[in-house]
């Protein structure tokens, strides 16, 4: 393929996501990799992968980087925060006022957009990792499970073992005592998911249409089910939720190129 294409790269605390976008807004390819320690190299690797998948050659006509490693992408002409990019990526699909929940590897965000897609307000969780992807990884570690097994286990029960603690480290200790008293592992996993939802609900009243994005949501649909049950209404999950930030970055790259 030839012609213009744009790139958005989201270097998160645990994963790097990259989206290539055609001039008409169609997603050409997505690439994903562990962020590791060499952000620059990882971004390059993702770009090569995505170009191969999309069958395009040459440098993108514009690249915007976002996420914690946003300033480390040497081929990006501009950077934007994850807050901007998740907003842009969600609005592209929602086209209405929306409250966005992004559950990331290291932090959670709530972003409010108005009807025109302009940001009205945003919030980040307190600096503690409670309720984030890091929390879920820690819980998996304590239970000796692969993170990929968690969603299936949580789905297999309707009886969460409630974790009362706010703190990730205390929650792990709590899990030990639940295990000692014979609580089922599936119930503990579901309890951990409930605790993730609790942390989100504490951040914001989440009025109006709600969308959920991020890797945690992509890999653990049960979290969205629990969230819907708690809110008493549907929560929209955009296509490829883990890539919403990268999509927003690519959309911003396209917009900047046409400005």
């Amino acid at each position: 393929m030839s012609g213009s294409f744009y790139c958005g790269v989201d270097i998160g605390a645990s994963a790097t996501k990259l989206v290539l976008l055609a001039a008409d807004g169609q997603v050409l390819a997505r690439a994903l990799s562990h962020s590791g320690v060499d952000y620059r190299g990882t971004a390059r690797k993702c770009l090569d992968q995505a170009r191969e998948l999309a069958g395009v050659a040459g440098e993108p006509d514009g690249t915007v980087a976002t996420g914690y490693g946003r300033s480390n992408v040497d081929f990006a002409a501009a950077t934007r925060t994850e807050i901007h990019c998740h907003g842009a990526g969600c609005y592209h699909q929602a086209r209405q006022a929306v409250s966005i929940i992004d559950i990331g590897g290291q932090d959670n965000k709530v972003i409010h957009l108005d009807d025109a897609g302009k940001r009205i307000e945003f919030k980040m969780n307190r600096k503690c990792a409670a309720g984030t992807g890091a929390f879920i990884e820690e819980i998996a570690l304590r239970l000796n499970l692969d993170v990929g097994e968690l969603d299936g286990l949580a789905d297999s029960t309707n009886e969460p073992v409630r974790l009362g603690s706010f703190c990730t480290v205390f929650a792990k200790t709590e899990i030990l005592s639940h295990l000692r008293s014979g609580a089922p592992v599936a119930g503990i996993v579901r309890g951990a998911f409930v605790s993730v939802v609790d942390r989100i609900i504490e951040m914001d009243p989440l009025d109006g249409v709600v969308m959920a994005t991020g890797g945690v949501v992509a890999h653990n649909p049960v979290i969205v089910e629990i969230l819907q049950a708690r809110l008493g209404r549907d929560v929209i999950v955009p296509e490829a939720p883990q890539f919403t930030g990268a999509l927003g970055a690519a959309l911003t790259a396209r917009k900047l190129a046409s400005a």
């Binding site: 914690y68 302009k118 940001r119 945003f122 919030k123």
Partner: protein, 414 residues
Amino acid sequence: MSESPIKKIQATGMMRKLMTEHFLELDAAANSSASDRPLIAWCTSVGPAELLRSFGFLVYFPENHGAVLGSSRVAADLIPAANARGYSPDICSYLTSDVGSYLKQQTPLMKAFGMKGVPRADVLVYNTNQCRDVQDWLAFYQREWGVPLIGIDTQRGLGEITADHLDGLIAQHKSLIPTLAEVSGRKFDLDRLKEVVASSYRCTLLWKRVLELAAHQPSPISFFDCTIHMGPAVVLRGTPAAEEYYPVLIKELEQRIADGIAAVDGEKLRYYWEGMPVWGKLRDHAEQFAGQHACVVASTYCNSWVFEAMGLDDPFEAMARSYTELFIVRGEDWKEDYLKAKFADYGIDGIIYHDAKTCPNNSNCRYGMPQRMTRATGVPYVTINGDLNDLRMYSEEQARTQFEALAEQIEESR
């Protein structure tokens, strides 16, 4: 390496000289064995410094030392020593870093000013107008040194300040006199007190003028500069040194305005900082904002340091009113009205609330204020989690992202 975008204020040299003289005077007094050496009173930052000066005490402000420990980034090494003595990591980190400094006998004052150490108090004087921690803080030293601890207990959360409030506070100020007379060996001198209060008033008017100059667009001075340049208004108020300093600073800032020089080049965004500074990150924050062409032009921390009631005729009423009219003492509605007026006066585009883990008293974002203020004014906000001194409570990356996101949001809406 690129040059720092922070512009140096020339008057800083004079300020440092005056502050050095202040500290060396305290050091000499603390280390003198002469029977007529000047005595030292420790006073909380918004305590009755004027009354203490009227008795001839040299006044030392432990919170100033707290800020020094924070900005020199040694607090994290000192706080654990206080924690180990039972002072929780959740209470005021000025207190814990100062007590830690005492326990470890380490203070940057030694290197900065050649002092032998923190000057020991002959009397400890507090006002709980700002918090209860100050009383507990000075009580630590009372137990260590066996010197008198006296103070004023101010009610907090006040809306209107009534005659009843004032009567009680005036009486409390007067009740300090016998102890101060006994420790100092001097009689109370009303005329001397009037002179000191009048000097404090002149200092307040000068500091107010500095703050007002920041309303100019672009601002000639930032919040980060003000946190440093308010030093004389805090520790030298009521002395000629403070009155000597501010006209020099004002002249320089007026010249900046005349020459079109801004504190932040290409100022595009004007922010209000609500809450304590993150002392160990002052420079980083100043540089981050300057990089976004954002100037923090006003703050509760610096702007509430104006005591207009010091101009009243009765010096006791002047002190009682001045130290009760403060932002930190007031109720939520009063605070919100104050902030709305400041946002209008300074042309504020965005607000940064600092939720300081160990100072609930200066963290006004905890009872829904940011949401209410933004609903009422339309000015967007962010809340950063951090602390005044304990950098273990601060996440660099989160704060950076929030500052950037605020700038994006404002620029998108233009």
